[in-house]
């Protein structure tokens, strides 16, 4: 028998008290594990996925809202900026990739965001050295084609060839008649791209209400030519008020019961187009740094460094919450450690005889001291094992609920490196809480203990 086997016997002898103390450690560890996993998820979510682009350009307003909206597909879009602005940016020699985004629409049930974009988006690394992979199909080529994120495909059971309509401006009562056909399903990226539906820019502008009314476009163009600032109008709710140049057939007869909508790609003039955001990849960080103020000086748009915005959010808000949660859970673990100390220390009064018997059988003072410390270590390690399993089980159970309620993707199998630090911390804590009871055992008077 080794010391741990002897210590384990003592723990089993006091099964109820031991279970409760180990449970208190387990709950502390479980909370810590959950905080670490959530912290890891949020940090990754807000740091990795932003790093693929140097600048996000969008309508003036909250820089954070622009980043949240265009990179994380959260929050509402600010407003739109003219498509011509995108065309100008694209021509700039400092720009490697300029990806336009049109946001605001959702899937029919409002669960996932629709992103109108161009095929080039799938050629750009979404985070450094990581390019999009397709689990099925291919990238967009045009028309009413769609590429969906892995989570979207899983949520709806969609496969290649599936067709779906989209809800205008997220208004579930206003579902467009046009349907988009899935031509590609992205492999999981662990980023917000997993829960986005990408449709081709041409298809997006072929939907009624997505292009700027002709009068507004003309007025804006005239103002631009007169040297005035362009008029920026919100996209949501705008309706076409003038004739459009239509290249293909018009939608079918709406009075017919459930006919398959005849949809075709419309050619929309540039001045009628708008974009919600433009993702810019520059030739260098320095160029991005120099370029942003120039955009910000003009009245049309703002250029935002996504990493800076997210770092600020993480530090100012998430960072503080994270620190607070980590401190709280740390305190819980310390309190659990104290409960182990109290439990073992209180039991020492009843165990003087047991200690004395061991000593009479030849156990040295150091041996009985070690047995008591081993008890504390075993209880803490047991608590750590149960707590880690419990924490991950709760994360596993909570992941789909959190996703459904907040769109935050939590990998139920995620394991944070910081969790590995919990074990040595627990071991040190257990040794500390075992010291005083161990010393009590160390000091037991054998002759007196045997007579008790």
């Amino acid at each position: 028998m080794n010391l741990f086997a002897i210590a384990w016997k003592s723990i089993r002898q006091r099964a109820l008290a031991s279970s409760l103390t180990a449970l208190s450690v387990a709950l502390g560890v479980a909370l810590m594990v959950m905080v670490l996993v959530i912290n890891g998820t949020v940090t990754r979510m807000f740091s990795q996925s932003a790093t693929g682009y140097h600048l996000i350009v969008g309508a003036k307003g909250s820089p954070l809202q622009l980043v949240l909206n265009s990179i994380y597909f959260m929050d509402r879009p600010i407003e739109n900026i003219p498509y011509r602005y995108y065309e100008q940016l694209k021509k700039n020699s400092a720009v490697v990739h300029a990806i336009p985004f049109n946001l605001g629409d959702t899937t029919e049930d409002g669960r996932f965001r629709i992103v109108g974009t161009i095929p080039e988006y799938f050629d750009v690394e979404y985070i450094p050295e990581k390019k999009f992979q397709f689990s099925q199909g291919r990238a967009l080529t045009g028309g009413f084609e769609a590429v969906v994120g892995a989570r979207v495909a899983r949520a709806y059971g969609w496969s290649l060839g599936s067709e779906f309509p989209i809800a205008h401006g997220g208004n579930l009562a206003d579902v467009h008649a046009e349907k988009f056909k899935i031509v590609g399903i992205l492999a999981p990226t662990g980023t917000p791209n997993d829960r986005a539906v990408f449709i081709h820019f041409d298809g997006f502008y072929s939907i009624a209400g997505h292009e700027k009314p002709v009068e507004e476009a003309r007025a804006e163009e005239e103002a631009r030519q007169a040297g005035e600032a362009p008029i920026i109008l919100p996209n949501a709710g705008s309706k076409t008020t003038g004739p459009l140049r239509v290249k293909a057939a018009q939608p079918g007869n709406q009075s017919q019961p459930a006919p398959a909508p005849q949809q075709a790609v419309k050619e929309v003039a540039s001045e009628q187009k708008q974009v919600t955001a433009i993702l810019l990849q520059m030739k260098s960080d320095t160029l991005a740094y120099l370029y942003a103020p120039r955009i910000n000086k003009a009245p049309v748009a703002q250029a935002v460094n996504p990493i800076a915005q997210i770092s600020r959010l993480l530090n100012d808000l998430v960072g503080n919450v994270r620190t607070m949660l980590l401190v709280l859970t740390g305190l819980i673990i310390i309190v659990s450690g104290i409960s182990i100390f109290v439990s073992i220390y209180n039991s020492m009064a009843d165990r003087k005889r047991e200690i004395a018997i061991m000593r009479a059988l030849g156990a040295r003072r150091g041996t009985v001291f070690s047995i008591i410390v081993a008890e504390a270590v075993l209880l803490c390690v047991l608590g750590w094992i149960v707590g880690t399993a419990l924490g991950h089980a709760l994360v596993f159970l909570a992941a789909p609920i959190v996703e459904a309620r907040s769109d935050v993707l939590i990998n139920p199998w995620s394991f944070e490196r910081e969790e590995l630090l919990l074990l040595p911390v627990i071991l040190v804590l257990s040794i500390l809480v075992g010291l005083l009871p161990g010393l009590t055992a160390y000091r037991v008077d054998v002759a007196r203990g045997l007579q008790e």
Binding site: N2, K9, R353, A360, L361, G362, A363, R364, T367, L450
Partner: protein, 224 residues
């Protein structure tokens, strides 16, 4: 000679500061393989004597030599190790560890002696004392007679040269007393182990070849 006590003195300081002498033994001997009963009244210093012989308590002065080693000169760790390897103890109240099975109670003594856990020998010893069918029972599940048998097996586990028995039959029912006594004596005889039993029972002491009264050689207040 297995055990020699020479000029051993031991006293305790009472809470009021008064010094209470317990042992004052000029000379005491026990030969190899010899079995001796030591008679004395309760509170007469019998248990203190066994504690001094086993090294649980250090004497104030004098020497306690077992197998040529004066354990009074050893530091505490040395005494603990010596006790674990050379001395077997059979207590009046058995002193088994309640959380451990009969087998584990025997094994734990081996562990503290640094001899590892020889499960085969532990099992054999328990079979020898008639508990082959109770190896995995814990003390609360056993009768007092069975518990004392486990204590006997444990005392012999490390092949000691001396077994100290402190009123080993005092808490055993009358029907089992003789069995326990026979078991201890036979086990020690078979192993060539010296046996020193302290008791206040004339009946138990009467079965030993050599019977001494503690008062005959212990003079705590210096008389005699």
């Amino acid at each position: 000679m297995s055990l020699i006590l020479q000029d051993v003195k031991k006293s305790y300081r009472e809470p009021g500061g008064t010094v209470l002498p317990i042992l004052n033994i000029a000379r005491f001997e026990l030969a190899d393989g010899e079995q001796m009963a030591l008679l004395g009244p309760s509170g007469g210093g019998k248990t203190t004597l066994l504690n001094v012989i086993s090294g649980i308590t250090a004497p104030d002065s004098g020497s306690v030599t077992i197998d040529g080693v004066d354990i009074a000169k050893l530091h505490e760790v040395g005494r603990d190790r010596f006790r674990a390897r050379k001395i077997g103890f059979v207590f009046q109240t058995f002193n088994l560890l309640p959380a451990f099975t009969a087998l584990e109670n025997v094994l734990v003594g081996m562990t503290f002696a640094g001899l590892g856990g020889d499960r085969g020998r532990a099992g054999h010893l328990l079979e020898r004392v008639g508990l082959g069918h109770r190896l995995h029972h814990r003390p609360p599940q056993m009768s007092v007679g069975e518990q004392q048998r486990v204590a006997v097996a444990r005392a012999l586990a490390n092949r000691p040269s001396l077994v100290l028995a402190d009123e080993p039959t005092a808490n055993v029912d009358a029907s089992n007393q003789q069995n326990i006594l026979d078991l201890i004596r036979e086990s020690c005889r078979e192993g060539g182990v010296s046996l020193l039993m302290v008791t206040h029972s004339l009946e138990a002491a009467g079965q030993f070849d050599r019977v001494n009264k503690l008062a005959d050689f212990n003079h705590p207040r210096g008389q005699g």
